[in-house]
């Protein structure tokens, strides 16, 4: 990990999610950027690729599904983790069809998302 930090983009319109995730993930050695507006996040992914993208699904403006679709089209190697408070079978299915790595229902424990992230990281390394 010392050689190259894994980069993570977090998009959730509720600021508390980033506020709590960012310090916890940074402490684990990840490089984290957070967004509460999907438009800003879209702009950012035009500029660079992230190893992992964590996004909410239901947001005002560009919704999470649209956002992750764009991410996957532009960077098929980026692993996307969906976090949502409105988990339904249909959205889960749609997410996985789009190539999402995992799907977490909110609220979740810090430990749970950390585990999913490290699994995604593992997958990226083995590519």
């Amino acid at each position: 990990m010392a050689s190259e930090q894994t980069s993570i983009l977090i998009l959730d319109d509720e600021p508390i999610v980033s506020k709590r995730l960012k310090p916890s993930l940074e402490k684990k050695g990840y490089k984290v950027e957070t967004f509460t507006s999907s438009a800003d996040a879209l702009k950012r992914i035009q500029e660079r690729q992230f190893d992992i993208v964590i996004t909410d699904l239901k947001m005002d403006g560009v919704d999470g599904m649209q956002f992750l679709t764009e991410v996957k089209e532009k960077y098929p190697d980026t692993e996307v983790i969906v976090i949502t408070g409105f988990a339904t079978m249909a959205t889960a299915k749609e997410s996985f069809n789009k190539g999402v790595f995992d799907f977490l229902a909110k609220p979740f424990k810090l430990g749970e998302i950390a585990e999913v992230i490290s699994m995604a990281e593992e997958k990226i390394k083995n590519k």
Partner: protein
């Protein structure tokens, strides 16, 4: 809506009484049980979210509230359906609670108490919405940390609301603010108009009397013939996440009779242009601001000062900075007088590293007639240091204690009174210079240099970072020698350890649960705690310096300063809006006020929370089923009777098909029971030997009798009899037991078809003390899990589920539940220490092996 439901319900009910078979009534009853379980689980889940382990957002809070509201409403509709609208008053209680919850969700801060005055001794953090941040903080410093604070009381937001409404200020102020927001009024005009209105208002007579009485009480028995007071602001948000430092007014040295006037002045400062603008910038909602006020006995200070628990510019120096001067603190805080400066080592024994004594020409002192003024300092004092060496060291210790508790570097205001005591006037978060902090990206590398002593073991009972020397507990008696700032390492998370909570930086134990008493206390005092590490006591050596990070379940060798600096960046979860919101909401949902069904308050009007409503409905549902089928002429399709047993357990059996055999007019003998699950449960409950395990000789008969029987003189009243109910058929049993304050629910079906077989077991405690309750839940969890139950534990509720096992295996486990039902009740008496958990576990296992083989 309510009326329509009422009418429809009555129509339906009338018809139902004559024709509706028990099967349908029982279906309603089961729906009620289901809702009951769902509601209690949701409440427990929401409570779990406060542990700090979860990430939740506002949407979660809204969704959970709405879900709960729907379920509770359904519950009330059902019980009224079942009882011909007997409890339609529940709707009123429900709507009242629902309205409160909605208002809180919209951001309103409801004063949690009706009191206008709250003495510091009775204030806890939970009352922050009533007393404001400054009062709550200070009161906690006094009551939780045991540090000296000014004597005083809070004038609550309820008092503010009264002042506001009696003077009809609400609408007029709102109108002025609207003009200001539309920019038709300038900042100054707005402030002048509102403040003018406040000054012209009168403090309501009853409020004035309470304030003056409380203030004279404070000065009772004091030598000072004419005591004076400090009246300070303690607005919502002040000293919390947002620092409104200096925005609001303080009035010093106020004589008793002038307190009401000073109260108005402080309240008026809520509407200074600066404060209004600040709140607008910070997105404070208009209804989130209510002014609580502090009234304190004035301290005629010899010396006053400010302490920083870290040097804000050079935190890596690991020093603590104190500046002080003679007299009152105001000119020191506002930089109007020169101050002495002392720099101390943060580590005990707090060596003084640097001293700068300046010439102090003037000091602020109290005026005899009230108010304050600058006076020349006596010549011989001018060049003397304003603090003594011992005072410096005591201050350093206080600073670290405050920092540990509030989880942030602290900026502390203090005074030294005429008796040379250090009095803490205020403590708030200190911002450190950002550049000095390790960057997150470097953090892993930096931390990587420290050897790891332990990792990935145990569960965090309280999140956080703690550093200090290891102190291994050999015998409980040694606790009195526990040194300040050490990390306590012990075999069990025993409640006794809470005795050193003021001194300990952290706790590590080999065994212990996050629902135990020590965990609760650790969260209350915000001391990082790691339990269930299995062998910390052998891995960590007495006296060894370590750093405990409970979030990553890691123990490092040495003091990892960088980790501390880094966490100072993080906003403590307790201070986040969502966390505050959830806490506020849960106050309307979670507390249980209805315990005893015989209590006169056990009525629909007595329900103050969703939990109360749920509890009430459950009790009445069981009562109704018993009533319908036993005391009244029951339906043709059921048979009912009281169990005649050697043990006087008041149990009403309702048979819905093939569960009972033979004549039962005088009661049902156990051998008449044909319901296999019921039979097996009774065998377990009456197993000889299970009761011999008690060190206190309590025989089952008298024991159960005391818990489940009401005096025979009253037994003619059906509603007074025990509410133990079993609905049975040949293959099915649904049990609702209330033994004392414990509730047991069992739902079991067993047949030769493995796919249909299931057992559901739910046990919840009541009002016993938390320590033994959590031990009992831990024991149940251990036993049930051992016998393949899928267990969920929320606080003191434990739910075990089992499905799809063959008949023989299911029977064995029902027998086990029988054993547990009787046994667990006794555990309250017997669970004297955590060490008993494995002992009783083994005893239960032995009985099981003797009766059912390995």
């Amino acid at each position: 809506m309510k009326n329509i439901l009422h009418q429809v319900g009555q129509l339906f009910q009338k018809k139902e009484q004559m024709t509706v078979p028990f099967k349908l009534i029982f279906a309603d009853f089961k729906k009620i049980l289901n809702l009951n379980n769902q509601i209690l689980d949701l409440i427990a889940d929401a409570n779990d979210k406060l542990s700090g382990d979860y990430i939740f957002d506002e949407q979660y809070i809204h969704a959970t509230c709405h879900q709960l509201t729907d379920l509770v409403r359904e519950l009330i509709v059902l019980i009224n359906h079942l009882t011909q609208q007997k409890y339609s008053d529940l709707y009123n209680s429900f709507h009242h609670i629902e309205e409160n919850i909605e208002a809180i969700l919209q951001g309103a801060v409801l004063c949690p108490v009706k009191d206008y005055i709250l003495p510091y001794a009775s204030i806890t953090r939970d009352l922050i919405d009533a007393v404001g941040g400054k009062n709550a903080n200070l009161a906690e410093i006094g009551s939780v940390l045991g540090l000296p604070i000014p004597e005083g009381f809070a004038i609550t937001t309820a008092a503010f609301s009264l002042f506001w409404s009696e003077n009809n200020l609400e609408e007029e102020v709102a109108a002025i603010i609207e003009q200001w927001e539309q920019k038709t009024l300038s900042d100054e005009e707005m402030a002048w108009k509102i403040q003018r209105m406040i000054f012209d208002s009168t403090v309501p007579a009853k409020l004035e009397k309470e304030i003056l009485d409380a203030a004279s009480n404070l000065s009772k028995g004091k030598q000072d013939a004419t005591p004076s007071f400090a009246i300070r602001s303690s607005a919502q948000g002040e000293d919390g996440v947002f620092s409104f430092a200096g925005q609001y007014r303080s009035c010093l040295n106020i004589p008793l009779k002038n307190i009401p006037q000073a109260y108005k002045e402080v309240v008026a400062s809520l509407y200074s242009p600066e404060a209004m603008e600040y709140r607008r910038r910070k997105d404070f909602r208009a209804n989130e601001i209510k002014m609580s006020v502090a009234c304190q006995l004035m301290i005629p200070a010899k010396t006053s000062g400010v302490m920083y628990s870290y040097d804000p510019v050079l935190p890596e120096e690991e020093t603590l900075v104190i500046s002080s001067a003679w007299g009152l603190g105001d000119p020191i805080v506002s930089g109007k007088v020169a101050t002495d400066l002392f720099v101390l080592d943060r580590q005990p024994p707090h060596e003084v590293k640097e001293v700068q004594v300046v010439r102090k020409e003037q000091s602020m002192n109290l005026h005899g007639s009230g108010g304050t003024g600058m006076e020349p300092v006596r010549e011989e004092q001018r060049t003397q240091p304003s603090l003594k060496n011992q005072q410096l060291k005591d201050l350093a210790q206080i600073g670290l204690q405050l920092e540990k508790y509030f989880k942030k570097p602290q900026d502390v205001e203090f005074s030294i009174d005429q008796q040379d005591r250090i009095i803490v006037l205020q403590s708030r978060q200190l911002s450190l210079q950002q550049e000095q902090m390790p960057r997150a990206s470097d953090l892993t590398d930096i931390i990587g240099k420290y050897p790891i002593l332990m990792q990935g073991k145990g569960i965090a009972a309280m999140k956080g970072i703690a550093s200090g020397p290891v102190w291994v507990l050999e015998h409980d008696g040694d606790l009195q020698n526990f040194p300040m700032g050490a990390i306590l390492v012990a075999r069990y998370a025993s409640p006794q350890l809470a005795r050193v909570i003021h001194k300990a930086s952290g706790f590590i134990t080999d065994i212990g649960s996050t629902t135990g008493h020590l965990a609760t206390v650790a969260r209350e005092f915000r001391v990082p705690a790691l339990f269930n590490t299995e062998n910390a006591i052998t891995l960590l050596k007495h006296g060894q310096e370590i750093t405990l990070d409970t979030e990553s379940l890691t123990v490092y060798e040495g003091i990892v300063h960088e980790l501390h600096y880094y966490t100072f960046h993080e906003e403590p979860i307790e201070e986040m809006y969502e966390y505050r919101l959830l806490r506020r909401i849960l106050k309307k949902i979670e507390p249980l006020n209805l315990f005893d069904p015989h209590d006169e308050n056990f009525i629909p009007q007595g329900c103050r929370t969703y939990h109360d409503l749920t509890r009430f409905v459950h009790e009445k549902a069981v009562e109704t089923i018993i009533d319908l089928n036993f005391y009244h002429t029951h339906q043709r399709d059921t048979q009912a009777g009281q169990l005649l047993w050697d043990y006087p357990l008041d149990l009403i059996l309702i048979d819905v098909g093939g569960g009972i055999e033979g004549e039962h007019d005088k009661g049902i003998r156990p051998e008449q029971i044909r319901s296999i699950p019921m039979q097996t449960l009774l065998q377990g409950m009456s197993h000889p030997g299970i009761w011999d395990m008690s060190p206190v000789k309590v025989d089952f008969g008298s024991f159960m009798s005391s818990l489940t029987r009401t005096p025979p003189t009253r037994s003619s009243q059906p509603e007074d009899i025990g509410r133990n109910l079993a609905v049975i058929s040949a293959e099915y049993t649904n049990i609702n037991f209330r033994l004392g304050y414990h509730f047991t629910v069992i739902d079991a079906y067993l047949s030769d078809n493995i796919l249909d077989n299931h057992i559901y077991f739910r046990f919840s405690g009541g009002v016993t003390d938390t320590v033994r309750r959590s031990r009992r839940t831990s024991l149940l969890n251990k036993i049930l899990s051992h016998y393949d139950f899928l267990c969920e534990q929320h606080g003191d509720i434990i739910v075990g589920r089992l499905k799809r096992m063959n008949k023989k295996s299911m029977l064995k486990r029902l027998f086990l539940l029988g054993l547990l039902i009787g046994f667990t009740r006794q555990l309250d008496v017997k669970m004297v220490s955590d060490a008993k958990i494995p002992v009783y576990f083994e005893q239960i296992k032995t009985i099981m092996e003797e009766s059912h083989g390995k």
